[in-house]
């Protein structure tokens, strides 16, 4: 048994549950070990509520450590805390070290299989007499929030309510315009300093020009401390997409205090980034040096990074698994025009995208699958879900920003980045986040009371 110390009374026991690799046929009969973390410090009586985090793309510890809201409210609800790891991430590998070997093994990495894992785990927990009549409240942020919303939509008899924070369940083809996402990122940078996005916009051509010669490639590789020196066109494209990812990540984790979610960062990291990008006249090598210093905030805040690895802007999450999901179900169109946003213009091209996916995984992206399976346009039958979205969060572009029904509610948090409301309470929290958490508590109380009411 392995303990993850948060502090003395916040320990997580690590457990495993044997789960079917394929929940939807009787042809594939293998099982695997799904990992979950549990804390029963506050659960004192029988039928205590179970607060269940529907894990997303990464080690489950990351989410247990960055979902302080569940820890903060567990004592008042006397709840059991459970954090379930998503299959194919962390240690929950359906086929051990062969899980990513080929499509035969990797093909069971789907959201519907993951939901069925969580249903099985919940049923297993509820098979114990002390949890027999425990209401289940699910929590999730980002993709984890999508899973929280979907598990309530698909299994309302298993899950009583869902707090789906920053869950872009509408960021799909034909539903949300691909331009929205990067415009929000741009607006966050503009708020920090009006010249900041202008300089970033200007930088793309300078990078392209600079790296058009071998000397320029060498200069940039050396000066920016790239792990692999730039060699060809592909490397330049990769550098540009790496930068875009970093700006996007900064917008997501632009929290009001020092934190370590996608990377260790200072409070309001975009402000720190944009401090380097205030002088509108910066250009050429000077601008490239300023950009390098700016992104340094994200890539090397702790001064421990030896070099920049362009393959992965978020080493704390598992990029390989997600890129497979993005190549199958999670096709979320994002594009830029370079006018209304600060990015290098880039159209959304499904054919090109598909070619890459076929090359990398032998799969063809299914851009309509999510809306077909879970619904996008008509979600009026959804109940007992809080969709919370921070307007500073680029993912709010695909979030549910209007109530779907009388109990599937949208909460807008103007001053919040990506699922800030799921983090621990902090003195620097903006008031809108404090208020959102009050709503969460209100609805959780309501769902738990309704659950017990029916059983009386």
């Amino acid at each position: 048994m392995n303990y993850i110390a948060r502090n003395t009374d916040m320990r997580l026991r690590q457990l495993i549950c044997q789960i079917k690799v394929d929940h939807f046929s009787f042809s594939v009969l293998n099982t695997f070990k799904l990992r979950y973390l549990i804390n029963d410090t506050w659960q004192k009586t029988n039928n205590a509520p179970i607060f269940f985090y529907t894990g997303n793309e990464g080690n489950i510890e990351t989410f247990a450590q960055n979902t302080g809201f569940m820890w903060d409210i567990a004592p008042e609800f006397k709840a059991l805390l459970v954090f379930a790891e998503h299959r194919y991430y962390g240690e929950s590998m359906p086929y051990n070290n062969k899980s990513y070997a080929d499509l035969n093994h990797l093909g069971y990495l789907t959201s519907q299989q993951a939901l069925a894992d969580y249903v099985d785990l919940i049923q297993y927990l509820k098979s114990k007499s002390k949890y027999k009549n425990s209401p289940i409240i699910v929590f999730g942020g980002s993709y984890g929030g999508m899973l929280s919303a979907w598990i309530r939509i698909k299994y309302p008899h298993i899950v009583q309510g869902a707090i789906a924070s920053s869950a872009p369940i509408l960021q799909f083809t034909g539903i949300t315009e691909c331009e929205s996402f990067l415009r929000i990122v741009t607006s966050d940078f503009k708020k920090a300093h009006s010249n900041c996005p202008k300089l970033i916009r200007k930088s793309w051509n300078i990078i392209v020009n600079m790296t058009s010669t071998n000397e320029g490639k060498k200069w940039l590789s050396d000066n920016w401390k790239l792990c692999q020196p730039l060699k060809n066109e592909n490397d330049i494209e990769q550098l540009i997409s790496y930068l875009q990812d970093i700006y996007t990540n900064l917008a997501m984790v632009n929290y009001p205090y020092k934190a370590n979610f996608l990377a260790p960062l200072p409070a309001y990291p975009i402000n720190a980034v944009c401090k380097h990008l205030t002088n509108e006249s910066l250009t050429g090598i000077e601008l490239l040096i300023a950009i390098k210093n700016a992104i340094n905030i994200f890539t090397n805040y702790t001064s421990e990074t030896k070099c920049l690895n362009l393959n992965n802007s978020t080493p704390q999450l598992d990029a390989i698994g997600w890129s497979f999901q993005a190549c199958t179900e999670m096709v979320m169109p994002i594009c830029s025009d370079g006018i209304n946003d600060m990015f290098k213009p880039h159209t959304w091209n499904l054919d090109e995208y598909s070619k890459d996916c076929i090359k990398q995984y032998s799969v063809k992206p299914q851009p309509n699958l999510i809306c077909e399976k879970y619904g996008c346009k008509d979600l009026s039958t959804a109940t007992n879900i809080v969709f919370s979205n921070g307007l500073m969060d680029p993912w709010s572009s695909g979030g549910v920003l209007r109530n779907l029904s009388s109990s599937a509610i949208a909460i807008i948090i103007p001053e919040s980045a990506h699922h800030l409301d799921l983090r621990s309470s902090n003195p620097n929290d903006p008031f809108s986040v404090v208020l959102a958490r009050k709503y969460h508590r209100f609805f959780i109380t309501k769902w738990i009371n309704e659950y017990h009411e029916i059983r009386k």
Copy 2:
């Protein structure tokens, strides 16, 4: 193109749709031809309602021919009629003639895969511009009714409402007592003549005694014209279970007029059967002859049956596929005590049942799977479903007999057998069935109006 003539203006075009064998992984990429029947006689304008029959265990023609209600109301709704065949039945074989070869091929015969087939087919139909904004109303009887209810529960964004007739979605472990089913059968026979169930109850011991000797086995085999003469204990058990099936089937199709659903039968066939079983003093060979004459109504009403095949009491349906489903998901406990019912006492024994399934298909029945996946106890979030149940129908034991919510409604039809309300209107219909169909029309109208209202 193949036409199935019902009458001159009721033709069905037979079409196929290429569908994934496995909707829930990216490892199994095969597709197969799902058959569906279509009639567009009354669909005149764009965005006409689509009345979609969610096919159950058998050739789809059987259901198209026995769901006259859809035909009856299509003109007033100007609806397109679609009857979709269930995978692994009729001609919709995922792996052609290997579909039943082994578990690798047969394991994709599950209700969830079937629902996903129907979703794909509906999406395909709606991809045509004339059906782009067509509301989808699903219809189904018995297992097809379960599928209708479940497709609305799981895919409310695809299906606007469901008429789920005689759908025993509660006939599962821990929800419905196993005794209920055969007590309803018994009560139907009692209504025909009070001595009828008494004589049937008495017959079991007489059959057992008679067939305890070789002469007796020979007498019964010859006199009852069995296709295979009785040889051993197993054959006797099979005979008894065959009789139980026939009595049950009679209760299901005890329609008020001559019909041909599970077999060609006269009006109120139980009355015809019980005419042979009125004399309480009948016993021994006399009783066996009376029983033989009684079941003759079911087995040989047309005088065309050469011999009784104990392997299959309903040759019109596909018993092999269903028995696999009953060995995996559709574990519906049924038992008898011989006191409150007319059957040979038989406890429900999951271990024994499982052994048979493992032997026959190498699968272990999952008695909790259906309630875990679809819900049984808490269905309060269900919307836009009419659950209709005839109280003469043994399957009403597992039916939804109370409203689940303000729009998931239970309709009780006291005088109806198994999904009589889905059959064509008939002068002999009892008033309660006529009334039920009025409710159906009322709700269908409401769902269609609501669908268009949202889109205004």
